[in-house]
């Protein structure tokens, strides 16, 4: 996943550790950097579990409050992002208990949600839409963790407590689904034009 970032995984983790240490000392600049570095991972993972943008946003917010509250007790093991995403998942589970279910969103509402986003081209929108609509829960979580958070399949298996071969096959199947969806949509677009 070299294209994801120029820094290596260890450098990234060391950086996150420093940010968290800063957050423990109420260093808001460190909080800003931590937020910028991990926001997409947290939101993407929350969205993949909750399947609801509003709830994912709540979790995104709560997650950093929780990090702030727990930062002083955090012991670096070179696994800062895994720690943050574990917090995210716990908050998501709490959210699901709160609302008692998935706040199911209809396909057309996903389209509206995706349409309303800025900063992405139409193909990006399509991928996001396909990810939310077409993938199973596990597939979506695996894809988000791998693509957005840069987790290795082995790490995903550990975090989601799934066997590694399952993660690998689900990931491949998910990408295939996304690809097919995109090809079909593109063909449809071309016909219409």
């Amino acid at each position: 996943m070299s294209y994801l970032s120029t820094v290596t995984e260890t450098e990234r983790e060391a950086q996150l550790d420093r940010y968290i240490a800063g957050v423990a000392k109420e260093d808001w600049e460190a909080m800003t950097q931590l937020y910028n570095a991990t926001q997409a991972s947290v939101y993407g993972f929350a969205l993949s579990i909750l399947k609801n943008p509003q709830d994912a946003e709540d979790v995104l917010h709560d997650c950093y409050l929780q990090i702030h509250a727990a930062a002083s007790g955090y012991r670096s093991q070179g696994k800062a992002l895994a720690w943050i995403l574990t917090i995210t998942r716990n908050l998501c589970m709490q959210k699901l208990r709160e609302v008692g279910r998935y706040q199911h969103i209809e396909a057309e509402d996903w389209e509206k949600y995706v349409e309303a986003q800025s900063g992405m081209d139409s193909e990006d929108r399509l991928v996001l839409l396909a990810c939310m609509e077409r993938l199973s829960d596990e597939e979506r979580q695996i894809v988000m963790l791998h693509v957005v958070s840069g987790f290795k399949h082995r790490e995903i298996a550990k975090l989601l407590k799934l066997p590694l071969p399952t993660v690998l096959s689900k990931y491949n199947r998910a990408l295939k689904k996304l690809k097919q969806y995109l090809l079909k949509e593109n063909a449809y677009e071309e016909q219409r034009n």
Binding site: Y3, L4, E26, W28, M31, T32, Y35, N36, Q39, A40, V42, Y43, G44, L47, P53, Q54, E57, D58, L60, H61, D62, Y64, L65, Q66, H68, A69, R97, E98, G100, R101, H104, I105, E106, E108, D109, K112, Y113, V114, E115, A116, Q117, S118, G119, M120, E123, D124, R125, V127, L128, C131, V143, M144, H146, V147, V148, L175, L178, K179, L182, L183
Partner: protein
Amino acid sequence: MKNREIEAKLKRSVSAAAPDVLQQVISDCKEQKGRVVYMEKTKKKRSIAARIAAVAAAFVVIAAGVTGFQIYRTNYRVASVVELDVNPSIEIQVNGKEKVIDVIGRNKDGQTVIGNMDFKGSGLDVTVNALIGSMLRNGYLSELANSILISVDNDDAAKGADLERRLAAEINEILQSNTFEGAVLSQQISDNADLKKLAEQYDITVGKAQLIQQIAAKNPLYNFADLTTLSINELNLLRANLSDSGDGALDSVNAIGNASDKAYLDEAAVKKVVFAHADVKEADVRGFRMELDYEHGLLVYEVEFYAGNYEYDYDVDAVNGTIISNDKEWEETGVLPIPETGQDKTPGQQPTEQLTEQKDTQGQQPTQQQTQRQTQQQTQRQTQKPAATAIDQAKAKAIAFAHAGVTENQASLVKAKLDYDDGIQKYEIEFYAGNYEYDYEINAADGSILKHEKELKRQQQTQRQTQQVTQQSSQAQQPVTGSQNQNGSQTTVSREQAKATALSHAGLTENQIREYECELDFDDGVKKYEIDFKSGNYEYSYDINATTGSIIKFEKEYDD
């Protein structure tokens, strides 16, 4: 198209879609800052505060209007939520046309009732019919437990009330066609954030939480947490009891039919049990009173009667007739058989008050000496009562709750009474909250705390009754119930393990404590480590079973 391209697109789109809540996070974090964090209790409190702050913040964000969300939020909105509670809890979401959007089992029984039925798109009446039918088939609604609670949540109060009425009538009709009569409670859910929090905390429906809150509000001896374990039928019995005993009906709950009490003993059966125990004849009994109540985590009958020169008090398990506590008190000749209505005489307090005195003689006639002692105490108390007290009982309770850091809602009051000891008038206040038992003595003249104790709650009621361990007696003797007696010749737990158990229980680390002491002791057939240490302004003492490693006792006291 390559995988890598798709991955890049997805990553870009998620990053772009992630809303920016950083400023909100930072301002909320600053708000959290500066709160004192020391003991586990406070810590828990803080996380609740943080959650409230988080929820509040979420509202701010919503109010600020997040682009694109408003449109679709209104589109899939649920018009009404109907909750059915029996013991199974089921939530039905319907849209404006009363077509079902989703049916959710809120507990395991609820899921059993739903089974693999799919209601999406069905009419509400059809759905309710099918669900009630399933509850009957599965035996959740029966002659023994015939109560169902319907809670309707609709932003439009008039529409909600209409729906509530229709559903209550319909469900009542379904139940009437059975071999037994049903009891239907219905209510509208008020939009209350606290209630939702409580419901979430105890994993019950908001409707049930609302019913419990109203019942708990009518009787200060009930506490919310305890009532959450009761079924709707049991709650309905308590509710009916409150209305009957003059505490008043619940404002917002409409009731049809009567809750079944067929699962509980009737008056004749209760009389038989208590009269046999007291060894009195029914003909000699005066002023018999019996009331269904909820105590010690059970539905009990509180029974009171007079015979000869004695006043008897019993708590009897309403299901199987076991006598949970009993008390026999000498009444002076000529005293009318009418219970006095003094402040320390409310039900629930009286029996416990006597437990300590009676523990050795339970089920036996009091000796002559004891009766005399009791008489003396009574006269003594009577002469002292008129003395002015600067603070009243409610205030004393508030002082104790505040000191313990618990709210009245969390506390289950065991005892609150005015006493006279060592020349001081004081309130003895005893309550449970969480897993702890708290004991306070509050000076009635100035409200100062004379003594306080916090102990891990005993698991079994019987243990609690016999092990009224106080500071003074714990050193002299450690009472242990017979079943726990062991020959304990072997010590399988090391000193280090015992220390680790105590520290982890206290939530402290090695370098946070001082004046650590550990002694192996053999007491009442149990080998145990007596561990004492200090941390901050607190003094901790633990007794740890040297054979099993379990915590027998622990105390945490403020050390001044």
